[in-house]
Symmetry: C2
Subunit: 135 residues, 2 copies
């Protein structure tokens, strides 16, 4: 279940590339259009439904203050036509941690859910483990 699926890692990388270069068509194409989708942006409540999720990405990619992002330390979990990737999102301002869920449709991975949230402190080395207070 873990490791070895380059396709889902490539799809996860394409998601961050689309975000970084503000490629609206690529971003829209990466998300499932046939399954329900959802998204938890850092600092937002959950968004559910294709229209709400797509609007949120259009808004963030149209915001000139949105920072560039780099994906690091992607770790995939795949079973059959369902999988998810955990990774760090590295910004100039700090690092977030994300869970990205994908569904395979007609042989291609499509995103169905994204949650990103902050660690307790900025990670100078995103590969390092951060301690903190768990809930």
């Amino acid at each position: 279940m873990v490791g070895g699926d380059h396709d889902i890692i490539a799809c996860n990388a394409a998601f961050y590339r689309a975000f970084s270069v503000r490629d609206h068509a690529a971003m829209a194409g990466l998300w499932s259009s046939s399954a329900p989708v959802s998204c938890i942006h850092p600092g937002w409540d959950m968004l559910v439904g294709h229209e709400a999720v797509m609007k949120s990405w259009r808004d963030v990619m149209n915001d000139p203050h949105s920072p560039a992002v780099e994906c690091r330390n992607a770790c995939e979990f795949v079973e059959g036509d369902f999988g998810y990737v955990l990774c760090h999102e590295v910004f100039d301002e700090g690092v977030l941690i994300a869970t990205n869920i994908f569904r395979r449709e007609d042989g291609a991975w499509r995103m169905v859910h994204h949650q990103a949230g902050p660690p307790a402190m900025a990670l100078s080395d995103p590969s390092a483990t951060v301690g903190g207070t768990v809930h």
Copy 2:
């Protein structure tokens, strides 16, 4: 894919009940023992592997300062033997938002991943949508 699976909602509720009443055996039994598991506690980096994830839950449940938690607004997404639940985690101190991923094993849902993170502000009404700055 959305709605109608009471079993995964019940399993999600059992996870929060085990946490709230500090039931170590129930918590251990809720997680998959055959698939890789992972966890992103708020303020922590990602934990990968059964031993690391289970140790983190033992530590938090043994911590007398760990707050009680109530799950609200659970929303499930199920397809075949894979599914996930989004929900609010309501503490005295505020509200977190969680993604909980499950896998059906021998007819029973087992948790394989948990991420919880804070919204930008405390939610006085956890069913309300929070605006904020997306990344």
